[in-house]
């Protein structure tokens, strides 16, 4: 684990020294000793701030937009999907990037640790378990039980192929299928129950747009929902407008969502936004035979068609 971090640190430093990058997007220690936050480094001297990010690592991709180019970035599989999303959306150019890819055992979600973060002194990755050190002692939790949701349906734990540097750790998270059970639950409700449920959820929404800002697929220079004319969305925070907002948001990322779940984590009121995104993801997979709708393609799934697409209208 640590030697991987060491390799990573060196990779970053040398990228600067070779003049490959002007800035580097990576993780560093955050407020909590164990949790990590995003950082944009501007010189090789800062290289030792680099962390692997055992827990609570945010998706780094979108920070590229603010990083001076050419920019380096440390990616796990999920970051890699985010980055290629941005490349596909032509918000960044591949040739402006220096991608260092690390294999990933999965990222711990401290929210899933039944201990208040204040008491946690340290976290430790012990193979199949997570060791939580507190002042009172040490608890052991099964590895899978404390991972971020996105890790539970990781496309692949191994490092991403098209990177400039590939660093493989000795332990990798194995790919797993997306868990659609949540979607199924909703689908099995009656329309009225569904509507009631979403009404309840959307009522919480304070329209802070955190979901939009966190999303690697929401990278428009100016979001159409902010326009005054045409008024796609009125500033009035009424329920119908909330439906309008969340429909549009989800529809705009439909077929483009990389499944990172950052929207959900960013949401201050805890809306189950992935329940919306994944609905699209699965429908697109099943309707148009896209093998893994989370992976960005050259042509957008909704921006293309096949003459023999399923026909359900008459």
């Amino acid at each position: 684990m640590n030697d991987l971090r060491e390799q990573l640190r060196e990779a970053v430093a040398s990228a600067f020294s070779q003049g490959r990058v002007r800035s580097f997007v990576c993780l560093e220690k955050g407020f909590y000793p164990f949790a990590s936050i995003p950082a944009i480094l501007h010189s090789g001297s800062e290289a030792d701030r680099v962390q692997l990010g055992l827990s609570d690592a945010p998706l780094l991709a979108k920070y590229l937009l603010d990083a001076p180019k050419p920019a380096g970035i440390v990616v796990r599989q999920c970051d890699a999907l985010g980055v290629s999303r941005l490349i596909r959306d032509r918000r960044v150019k591949r040739e402006d990037l220096y991608i260092v890819s690390v294999s990933c055992p999965g990222v711990v979600d401290t929210a899933k640790i039944p201990v208040s973060p204040y008491q946690i002194t340290a976290l430790e990755n012990a193979g199949d378990a997570l060791l939580v050190h507190t002042a009172l002692g040490r608890t052991e939790l099964p590895w899978a039980s404390v991972l971020l949701d996105r890790c539970l349906s990781c496309v692949s734990g191994s490092a991403s192929p098209d990177a400039d540097v590939v660093l493989e750790g000795e332990k990798e998270k194995l790919p797993a299928p997306v868990d659609y059970s949540g979607i199924d639950k909703v689908e099995h409700m009656t329309p009225d129950e569904r509507y009631a449920m979403w009404e309840k959820e959307f009522a919480k929404c304070i329209r802070c747009f955190a979901c939009r800002n966190a999303c690697p697929a929401c990278s428009c220079r100016k979001c159409s929902l902010d326009l005054a004319e045409p008024e796609w969305l009125s500033p009035a925070v009424t329920l119908p407008e909330q439906f309008m907002f969340h429909f549009t948001r989800a529809y705009h990322v439909a077929g483009r969502c990389v499944g990172c779940g950052e929207c959900e984590r960013a949401c201050p009121v805890g809306l189950p936004l992935m329940k919306l995104n994944r609905k699209f993801t699965r429908d697109i997979e099943t309707l148009f035979g896209v093998d893994d709708a989370r992976i960005p393609r050259d042509v957008e799934v909704l921006g293309t068609f096949l003459p023999d697409d399923p026909e359900e209208f008459c």
Partner: protein
Amino acid sequence: MIRIGVFVCWCGSNIAGTVDVGKVAEESAKMPGVVHVEQNKYTCSDPGQDSIRKAIKEHRLDRVVVAACSPRMHEMTFRKCAASAGLNQYLVEMANIREHCSWVHSDMSVATPKAVDIVRRAVAKVKRSVPLFPSTIPVEKRALVIGGGIAGIQAALDIAEAGYEVTIVEREPTIGGRMAQLDKTFPTLDCSSCILTPKMVDAASHPGIRILTCSEVEDISGYVGNFQVRLRKRARSIDEARCTACGICISKCPTSRDSEFNMGLGTRKAIYMPFPQAVPNKPTIDREICRHFTEGKCGICQKVCPSGAVDFSQEDQVLNEKFGAVVAATGATQFSVEAYGEYGYGRYPDVITGLELERLISSTGPTDGKIRRPSDGRIPRTVVFIKCVGSRDENKGYPYCSKACCMYTAKHAILLKEKIPGASAYVFYMDVRAGGKDYEEFYQRSQEIGTRYVRGRVSRIYPLDGKLIVQGEDTLLGQRVEVEADLVVLAAAMVPQIDAPEMARKLGISYNQYGFFSEAHPKLRPVETNTAGVFLAGTCQGPKDIPETVAQASAAAVKVISLFAKSELTTNPNVASVDESLCSGCLWCMNVCPYKAIEEKIITERAGKETVTRSVASVNTGLCQGCGACTVACRDGAMNLLGFTNEQILAEVEALCL
């Protein structure tokens, strides 16, 4: 300040019969922006139109709504009318209260409020309409025909006959294409060159037609009426003006190679004419093998040429020219039958393709029209024909039917019997497809003269004691059958040119999964493409026989002619337009555009201190047809469709739902 005039039409009793026009007028008057309302018995009549013109002037109207019939009926009428009163015609909107209201309802109490809604919709929309100006584009009245096969020749002749200039671009040293290689043609059995050569000569001698051989299209840009085309004319090493085609050079040339024209069955010299009737009737030097170019030696041709036409120093020419329309007649090629290892083509010299047999039968061919088998030159007594080699075979070839093979195989069988009395012919087939005038009769004739049709596919061929053992199945007998053949002829599939996709990209047209060019509409627009001004002729669009090809070529020609008949094209101003300040440059719109009308544009702008460049979408209004698919693909709402803007549609929705 918006001043809308609403003109409600009675259409006699057509509308007034079920809609309370007075009430509609009354309600319309209350709508925001409406400053003038009028009723007319027949708004489309002259008095009706006059009243509109009058009102526009008197009330300084800057928007007009006509509540009457379907826009598909009279929109043009009222737009012209408004224009004649000095109002931009695109500030007129129609409310269809006849077809969509009075004619489908009988109860005035429901029809009237609906009519009001419909008017409100129109008012809401027109309020957000802006003046639009159709641009007119000039038409360069010169046609480019790509490909000098029978399709290209026919199209060129027809266009030129109508009095327009045509340029034929052919990459081979001569025009004529595949048809020139054929001996006779079904179902009439008249000799191919006898009907083709005259056309070739006509084309060559026609004042309106220019033929560029050894030439290829390198790049095409622009749009209908205004294509910029870059052509490369490869050096022929012959001064065509001087050459008298005496042929001495050819007879004296020491080097030779397999002749493409004879499908490799014969040879040709390094300086050569593909065939005697070639047009233009000038030799060409093949620099790949010519010893002057390979070894710097020789040069005999130059010495012997009485008119000093041989010019080794000649270089490729690049021509940049402007054309108004393009006809793609790039043709098809033959499936490479090596894919069928079990038939041993390439390993067994006496397994040949249909086209090779054509050359063996043809009097201009390597055997002077005597059918001799390649291996030992013996006259074959037993010939086996195998159909659908590469066609109807998704495993080793293509799933589609090549259409011409059934008939030319029947033809081959007949010709075989003519050339070699007593020879026996076997045809292995799955189905005989003889749809077409006199085709079925022709096929029956081939049966009546004793051709044995065996229903089944051949599984394999192997040589044994100088014979080819052909093993197949007679599915009607339900038994394996075996033929000891002297010669086996494979009816190879008709497949797209290898570089068809590349050509399609140059032309900005689409092609199907095999590489055949796609027509704009399978039934209703069979020779047009999705790119205005580009038309299709012949086998580049799909397998065809000669009659079909010629028919399609003439059809394409007519399309070109009717395009050139217009002095200039007015473009529909209802096209997509980009708000560059919003565009993030994802160019998703580019992918959905069926007309390749959207391209990337790099703009520079000041961001704070530094100036940055970024790419945005930009619409070529010459190509855009205004379908609006791009607007929905655009997430950041930068793409809009003039005349049907997001603002307008959203407003219409609001107006209707009030």
